[in-house]
């Protein structure tokens, strides 16, 4: 007697979580494939004799091969996208296929550093300068592999690869170095994490977390935490929270987005030993940052769907852990919360007193408007101070022969645009991504059978969005520079 597998209706939150993971995986895959294809062309152009299979060809082949394994489930993915129920075995197959794609994409990413001719974009430096306005604290950006990405302490990475201390000192002289994942070098949305890393630069310079640790945290409080988890955990989680608050202060809720998407994409939660490189468990970070944003008067409702999906994702992965690992992580979560909750107010006070440009609710409102412009495939670097109607009325009032040039210029000045802050561009970019990726997934997996899958459609969407955001940041940078030149000394 055959048993019909139970068909389960698609839970809306589960579905959303799956789509986020799928979109992040396809994005990473598309970027990686694009970088490798460019490299393939470069090798062919520069080395006519190297037209036979090169290492890059093999990497592309390897990537495509594992992508094909995932695409074996495209019919099920297409059904899931269209809210159709899957049975448990089908769900498992989809998740397994996606994991294979993710794991192999991440593996290949580690080899990207061997490729020549790639550098961090000048727009990334502009974004940091625009957000922080601290010219006294220079920071350069280097491209690293994914596992070392988004670190502030370049010295730590050099130590990991056994570079002698003297050489390390020579290499890191001349400023702070922030590390960015190679695959995200064209991805302004991911640069939100650089604000967190720059937060560490400020923290070290102004000794914020050290002062908090010395003055605010009672010795018993920290010692307890340290004893239960590992040496320096107390100091490290305070430093990470300071950096989180600084990033949220200048960028708003978007500062958390890349962290949550990358974590949702990881097949498993990292155990206590690996996570305790200093970061509090992410749910604690999210909770503290959301409370801080609330204090700043910034709403998080636009990003709430991601927070909800992340919470579910975390709970699921926690449940899948070994009991020992799970207990350890839960204990760590509690300890971090116990230490940080009483200190959050003081951390917020110190961060707010740094004099950085604060991300406000009006920036979020502006980002919502800019999101619509981005959806119409236009850059979003600036806005007019006056409405179209006002300017039209002014233009209609000008009659040839009856007006002076000064009167005409006064009306035309209404067309002048003012640059928007980089934080609004980044927030608009995230809002656009959250509102548009599902439609693109539908186009990528057309029909219910999963035939005619068009992964290039997702690749083009990623490339176009990157291009518009990069152009927007470039425009804002040049716009501000021209205004500086035009302004009286």
């Amino acid at each position: 007697m055959s048993v019909t597998p139970e068909v389960r209706p698609v839970n809306a939150l589960e579905r959303r979580r799956f789509l986020y993971v799928l979109s992040e995986a396809l994005e990473k895959f598309s970027r990686l494939r694009q970088i490798l294809r460019r490299q393939q062309v470069f090798i062919r152009a520069e080395h006519a004799e190297g037209r036979s299979a090169t290492a890059v060809d093999k990497l592309i082949h390897y990537l495509e091969e594992h992508c094909q394994m995932f695409l074996g489930n495209s019919g099920r993915v297409a059904r899931l996208l269209r809210d159709e129920p899957l049975n448990e075995a089908e769900e498992r197959a989809v998740t397994h296929g996606l994991r294979i794609l993710i794991v192999h994409t991440l593996q290949i990413h580690e080899l990207l550093l061997l490729l020549p001719r790639e550098a961090a974009k000048p727009q990334a430096s502009f974004l940091l300068q625009d957000c922080f306005g601290r010219k006294d604290l220079q920071a350069s950006i280097v491209l690293t592999n994914l596992f070392s990405a988004y670190e502030y302490r370049f010295e730590d990475i050099l130590e990991k690869v056994n570079v002698e201390q003297e050489e390390r000192m020579a290499l890191t002289q001349g400023g702070n170095v922030l590390c960015q994942a190679f695959g995200d070098k064209d991805n302004p949305l991911a640069w939100a994490v650089l604000a967190h890393e720059y937060g560490h630069v400020l923290d070290d310079h102004d000794a914020i977390s050290k002062k908090i640790l010395q003055k605010e945290a009672t010795p018993g409080q920290v010692d307890d935490v340290t004893r239960k988890v590992e040496p320096d955990f107390g100091a490290a989680v305070i430093a990470e929270t300071v950096a989180d608050f600084i990033a949220a202060h200048v960028l708003g809720p978007a500062s958390l987005m890349p962290i949550l998407f990358v974590e949702m994409m990881q097949p498993k939660l990292r155990g206590v030993r690996r996570i305790s490189a200093g970061h509090p468990p992410t749910p604690v970070r999210v909770q503290l940052v959301c409370e801080y944003l609330k204090q700043l008067g910034v709403t998080i409702s636009d990003f709430e769907p991601v927070f909800e999906a992340y919470k579910l994702d975390y709970q699921r992965k926690l449940k899948d852990m070994d009991k020992d690992q799970r207990d350890g992580l839960e204990a760590m979560e509690k300890e971090a919360e116990r230490l940080l909750s009483p200190l959050a107010k003081e951390i917020a006070r110190k961060v707010s007193s740094l004099g950085l440009r604060r991300f406000e609710e009006r920036d979020l409102r502006s980002a919502r408007t800019l999101q619509q412009t981005l959806a119409s495939k236009q850059p979003i670097s600036s806005r007019r101070s006056r409405s179209q109607e006002d300017i039209s009325a002014g233009l209609s009032s000008l009659k040839g022969g009856e007006v002076t040039p000064e009167q005409v210029y006064a009306v035309l000045a209404g067309l002048d645009e003012v640059p928007v802050p980089g934080s609004e561009i980044l927030s608009a970019g995230w809002l656009y991504r959250l509102s548009s990726f599902e439609d693109v997934l539908m186009k990528t997996f057309p029909g219910e059978t999963g035939q005619n899958v068009d992964l290039d459609a997702y690749g083009k969407y990623v490339e176009k969005t990157d291009g518009l955001l990069l152009k927007s940041l470039e425009l804002a940078d040049v716009h501000a520079e021209v205004l500086r030149r035009l302004s009286p000394a």
């Binding site: 470069f42 233009l395 210029y409 470039e474 520079e481």
Partner: protein, 210 residues
């Protein structure tokens, strides 16, 4: 019909999206508006064409277009406060800072500015026409016909664009045109002639560069 300053301004705020002209950002209308044109600025993006490893350019050559770019050019992206030095007889591709979106009944034309021409800077060699329905930044050719290097900085008012209203709307504007190669570009676009059907379907192969 060539649009005047007031016509251009009205098109920029036209309530009808099918008639609205987009040019963004306008940093200073007072500086940028001419009697029948709008000055455009230089972006941060340059593509220098290399000749050291090429004997000649064969317009009928048929390698993948992207390969040609790597083989023949070098891309340079400046920060906003950096400069680019264009040496005598040097030729580079550059693009406007501004992003354009032309409605289906307006065509455009990019020209240099006489102030720079008098110093030997030539802006756009042959491809100054902008189709109705085009969207993106405008790529143009820069060359130094003078005897001294010219310092170029992003944001410099490098040229001007004038607009023509057509008698009727185009039936197939650029955005709908089959094989539109440069639509919605946000950076300098190098030649995509290799995508032309005459070349992609041809069988000619350069003997010097197999």
């Amino acid at each position: 019909m060539l649009l005047s300053d007031i016509d251009i301004a009205k098109r920029l705020v036209d309530p009808d999206p099918h008639k609205r002209l987009v040019v963004t950002p306008i940093i200073s209308a007072k500086e940028q508006f001419g009697p029948s044109s709008l000055d455009v600025r230089l972006s941060t993006d340059f593509q220098r064409l290399e000749n050291m490893n090429r004997s000649h350019i064969d317009l009928n050559e048929r390698p993948a277009a992207d390969e040609k770019v790597y083989r023949e050019g070098k891309r340079i992206i400046l920060a906003a406060n950096e400069s680019f030095f264009l040496h005598p007889d040097e030729f580079v591709l550059a693009s406007t800072l501004e992003f354009f979106r032309l409605p289906g009944d307006l065509a455009g034309r990019i020209e240099g500015r006489s102030s720079w021409g008098r110093q030997g800077l030539l802006v756009h060699a042959t491809a100054g026409f902008v189709d109705p329905g085009f969207a993106g930044v405008l790529t143009f050719e820069l060359s130094n016909a003078g005897r001294l290097p010219i310092k170029l900085t992003p944001g410099l008012r490098i040229g001007q664009v004038c607009f023509f209203q057509m008698l009727t709307r185009s039936l197939v504007p650029y955005y709908a045109k089959h094989g539109a190669k440069y639509f919605e570009a946000t950076t300098v676009e190098t030649s995509k002639a290799a995508y032309d059907p005459e070349i992609t379907k041809g069988s000619h192969q350069d003997q010097n560069n197999p």
